[in-house]
Structures are given as C-alpha cells and as structure tokens.
C-alpha cells in the first residue's frame, strides 16, 4: 500500500480501537453488544494486517495464538457461569446466575455479571475473527496456510 494510506491508517487505528473498547465496556448501558465491540477491535487489527502486510501484524498478534486466546475467553465464560452455580449469592444455585452486586443502574459498575460477560464475549469474538482473517484472507494459492507456524 502506498505511503498516504499507511500514514492515515496509523491515525485511524487508534480511533477504531477506542470506539471498540467503548462499545464493549459500555455495552450494558448504551447500545452496544459483545459481538459488535469484539468485531470492531478485530477490524482494527485486520486493517493493520491489510495495510501493513501480514508479517507486520504477526509481530504484534500471532495468528494461531489468537485462536488460543479466544478459547481461553470461552473457558472463562464457562467459569463465570459455574461461579453462579456454586451459589456465591445466598440461596441462588443456578448456572449463569447474576451473583455480582447490581450497583446503580445508569453508571458503569451496574448490572451484575452482564458487563463481565460482555467483555469476555468481546475478547472471544475479537481474537476469533482476527485469527479467521489471518487464515482466510491472506491465504495464498497452493501454498495454503500451513506455511506460517
């Protein structure tokens, strides 16, 4: 990609990441959701991969280890679910039970486990689609994707 795009993307990526984190963290107050926030974060990395090429992006986030990070996020989601099962909140022994305090509704620390699940979902979707993009789009003909570690 020629010079102008490289310089412009170095500015734009910061904005996209900020917006992505905003959508993920404030998901339970304003319209935004784990899926969208994670995809926004992934699209920031994908833009960096397209413009600066794959090896540059790989230096920052390794593609096949991104899938491992999303698997760890999935396991954490299940662990949060099991925490509800243990019954930290008195008398409520249910899977995915809302055991964190609710806080006051219109501010950041509210809604029990909803923000926690939101952030974990955003991490899962973000790193997952980054790994997907690393495999699918930068796939080069016969050599396939086995070339990279």
């Amino acid at each position: 990609m020629d010079k102008t795009i490289r310089i412009l993307t170095s500015y734009v990526i910061g904005l996209i990441l900020i917006f992505g984190f905003y959508v993920v963290i404030y998901g339970h107050i304003l319209p935004g959701e784990g899926f969208d926030g994670g995809m926004l974060i992934a699209s920031a990395f994908i833009l960096c991969m397209i413009v600066y090429g794959r090896d540059e992006a790989k230096k920052r986030v390794n593609i096949s280890s991104a899938l491992v990070v999303s698997a760890i996020a999935g396991l954490l989601l299940i662990v949060v679910g099991f925490l509800g099962l243990i019954g930290i909140r008195d008398g409520h022994q249910f899977f995915l039970d809302n055991f964190l305090p609710q806080g006051d509704p219109h501010y950041l620390f509210s809604g029990g486990i909803v923000p926690v699940l939101n952030v974990l979902l955003g991490v899962l979707v973000g790193f997952g689609f980054y790994a997907l993009f690393g495999y699918l789009v930068v796939w080069r003909g016969e050599r396939g994707t086995d070339a990279e570690p």
Partner: protein
C-alpha cells in the same frame, strides 16, 4: 444439575483441546474418548434414575417464560443414550482410523462440538436455543465432511452446506411466526398458550415451513440429494455419527417436539409423514440395490431406514410410535456398525468397490462377525433388535388400518435383506475375483476391533433384552408422544 454437563462437558474438553493442541500436535486422543465415555456413562445412569419422570433446570434462576430452560423427559433420554453411545464408539474408532489424516487434534475438537451440539438439541426447552444447537451441529458436520480436503469431499460439503443452510432459514422463519403468535420462545409456555387459544392460520403457515426444514435435514425423498454424496466421502467415524445420529436428532426430534408437543398434530400431517416415509423406504431400497460402492450403498439404506421411522411416527398409534422409537435405537447401532465395518474394510484393503472385494471372512474374522450381526439386525432376523422394531411398526400400521401400506412394508423388508446379503456375499463370503492381494490383508488394529465388538454385542443385546428395553426406554418416550399437547402444562407444573 447433571443435565447441565451434557452439552457443557464436551465443550469444555474441546476448548482445552484447542489450547492443548498448541503445545503438542497429536494430543487429545485419550482426553476426547474419556469425555465421550463419561458422557455415555452419564446417559445410562439417566436411564436408570429417570424412569418416567421429567427434569426441568431453569438456567440463571429465571422462570419459564423469562429465561432458557433445559428439559429432560423420556423422549430426550432415549436420544441421549443413542447420541452418546455412537459418539463414544466413533471416538474410540477414530483413534486408529484418523492416523491417515493430518491435523488430527482439530478432528477431535470438531467431533466434541458435534456431540455437544447434539446433546444440546435434545435437552433444550427453548425453541430458539434448539435452532442455535442445530447450527452448531450443522457447522461441525460441514467441516467434518470436508476433512480430507480433496475434490470429492469439498464438493459433497458445499452441496450439504447450501441445502442445510436453506433448510435452517426455513426453520427460522417458522420460529419467527411461532414467536409472533404466541409471544414467548419457551416450548412449554408456547404449547400451553396454543392449547388455550387454539390454532390460527399463522401457525398453519408455520407448520409447513418447519416441516420443509426438518424434511431437508432428514433427507426424505424429495430433498435427499445431499446424503448419498455427503456420507460416503466423509471420514468413517464422521459418517457413522452422521447417518446414525445427526439425521435423526435434527429432524425427528424436532418434528416430535414441535409438532406433537407444541402445535398439535393434525391427521393430514400424519398422512404426509406416512407417505413420505413409504416413498423414501422404497426409493432407498431400490437405489441401494444398484450401488457398487460400499459406503454409498449404506447411505442409500440410511434414507430407507429413516423412512421406516417416519412411517412409524405417521401411523398415529402408540404401537407405531413404540416401533419408531425402538427403530431409532436399532438403526443408530447397526447403521454406525456397518459404516465402521466399511471403514475397517477400506482401512485394510484400501478398496471400496464391492465387485472387486471378496473372501475377507477368514482374513478379517472380527469384522466379518460384526457385519453379520449388523446385517441380521437390519434384515430383521428374530433374535436381533431390528426384527422387533419392524414388527411393531407393521402391527401399528395394521392397527391404524393401513393394510396395503403394511403389506408394502413387509415386502420392503425383503428388499433390505436382499441388499445386505449382497454385501455379505460380495465382500466376505465369495472367493476374490480379480487381482486381489488376499494374503497381504491383515485384521484392523485392536481399538477398531473393540469398537466393532461393542456395537455388535449391543445389536444382539437390543434384541435379547427387548422386553426390558421396551419398558425402560421406549415406554417413557412413547408417553411423550401420546400425551402430545399436555407437554406444556406438564413442564410448567414443575
């Protein structure tokens, strides 16, 4: 709480496998078969402890219309046993068989997700959750069919993907209409609302949409185009799971749970199921007679056996239901056993064309023994399970007054026996015809033999222990079908 582990345990071990695979490539053999064995053991304990009861688990502590519930009753307990039995055996079989393929760990990850999706379908008490689990099963089976990345596998996978996604969108449209008319997504709440307010024309529009989607997943005759290509080209443990379990769970479970339980079954719907089943029995049997490829013949016979189950459900009498339920159990065991036998023959001889094979009975005794028990059970020879399920279906037909259809079914039993004797004669009994290196063939490795023997014993056991199995597994499943629309008030009572 035990029900919760059925979908979650394979997902947890699959996620651990994704992490484990990073460090050592060929890991996961024993982790995945251990999970599959634990699931099978849990399914069997459920059969003993449940005996006719209904277990409801409210996830997140919310009540019925608010949150998502997991519902376990007699009918889903039957399917749990089928899924986890075939899952465990095919996992055991794949330890040896998958050495031919690269990226073995990814096979285990997808296979565990397939079992998790199937367990999730059978336990979900929420119609949209049922659809999401159906998608997990669909995506896992698309990738598993295209596992050996060659022209045939990719083509079979793309054909199955297109038809499977179209079927899913039709089911989704039906779910949208059901939600809009009843206001809730919970099956029990929906069934109670519909039994109170009666059927209006919107539900009559939703029923054919759902039936179209389920018939496409079950490969009934007009929509069977994908099955004869998808099952033979898939790796053997996957095709054993696909034709033994996936086409049953995705379609028949959905038909019984949504049509019998929620919207109520009209006689015309039963007639459609009956005649669709009859046509696919004869279509499957005739085209199976012409096939020369071992696995393709088995795929066509799957179409005809699914026709038997649809026929059993279509009779509308408790006898027909019992025959259909028992045939689900039987067909899962002997069809996956036959696919495993076909895989073993291909594993040791490398040849899938029946006309070229021959004289394997003395070289591969265990494979020959298990294929005997499978073909006797399928053909309907008395001591084996297949005989009793066909008998019940035919009795159900006569009781429901379909005399001509009953005679046709008896005739079709002769056809099924014909094409399985053809396999026995060509593959095992006769002397090899052409340039076949008979002396170099040796028996398949130990683990494949063990899995074949397990299924062969169960095929025989289903026949011998028929009265106990009828009382313990089939009766509660039939009770779910017969009391139909009372499903809602039954579940909400808990």
């Amino acid at each position: 709480m035990l029900i919760l582990l059925f979908p979650l345990l394979p997902i947890i071990s699959a996620l651990c496998l994704i992490i484990l695979e990073r460090f050592d490539e060929d890991s996961g053999d024993y982790l995945s078969s251990a999970t599959a064995f634990v699931l099978f053991a849990m399914a069997v304990t459920i059969i003993f402890t449940l005996n006719g009861g209904v277990v409801v688990y409210h996830l997140g502590g919310w009540g019925s219309p608010l949150g998502v519930d997991l519902v376990l009753d007699g009918f889903s307990a039957l399917f749990l046993v089928v899924i986890n039995l075939v899952g465990f055996v095919s996992m055991l079989y794949s330890i040896e068989y998958m050495k031919k393929f690269t990226a073995k760990a990814k096979f285990y990850i997808l296979h565990l997700f397939l079992i998790a999706g199937l367990n999730g379908i059978v336990l979900s008490g929420d119609i949209f959750n049922f659809y999401v689990f159906m998608e997990i099963v669909a995506f896992a089976s698309y990738a598993l069919i295209a596992f050996g990345v060659e022209q045939l596998d990719l083509e079979a996978s793309i054909r199955y993907q297109v038809l499977g996604t179209v079927g899913s969108f039709f089911v989704l449209l039906g779910i949208g209409i059901l939600y809009s008319v009843t206001g809730t997504l919970d099956l029990a709440d929906m069934s109670r609302f519909i039994s109170q307010t009666g059927i209006n024309r919107a539900i009559l529009f939703a029923v054919p949409l759902l039936l179209f989607g389920f018939a496409l997943k079950a490969a009934l005759v007009p929509f069977h185009a994908w099955l004869p290509d998808a099952h033979p080209t898939a790796p053997t443990p996957v095709s054993a799971m696909l034709s033994g379990v996936v086409i049953k769970v995705c379609s028949i479970y959905g038909i019984v749970r949504i049509f019998f339980g929620v919207t109520g079954v009209s006689p015309t719907l039963l007639q459609i199921l009956l005649y669709a089943g009859l046509i696919s029995i004869f279509f499957g049997a005739f085209s199976a007679l012409r096939q020369t490829d071992f696995k393709r013949l088995l795929a066509y016979s799957s179409i005809s056996q699914i026709g038997y189950i649809m026929l059993g459900i279509g009779t509308g009498t408790p006898l027909g239901y019992a025959g259909a339920m028992f045939h689900i159990l039987n067909h899962a065991t002997f069809k996956s056993l036959f696919f495993i036998v076909a895989g073993a023959v291909e594993h040791s001889t490398g040849e899938r064309n029946i006309t070229k094979l021959g004289g394997l009975s003395d070289k591969m005794p265990v494979t020959f023994l298990s294929s005997l028990s499978a073909s006797f059970s399928l053909g309907g020879v008395p001591p084996f399970g297949g005989f009793f399920s066909k008998l019940l279906i035919i009795l159900g037909l006569f009781k429901a007054g379909y005399l001509t259809v009953g005679l046709l079914v008896v005739l079709s039993a002769v056809f099924t026996l014909a094409y399985f004797l053809k396999i026995q004669r060509n593959v095992f009994l006769r002397l090899p015809t052409s340039h076949f290196p008979l002396p170099t063939i040796k028996e398949v490795p130990v683990l494949m033999r063990v899995s074949m023997l397990i299924l062969a014993i169960i095929c025989l056991g289903l026949g011998l222990a028929f009265p106990w199995i009828l009382k313990a597994i089939v009766e509660p499943a039939v009770a779910v079908l017969t009391n139909g629309c009372k499903y809602g008030s039954l579940i909400l009572g808990l």
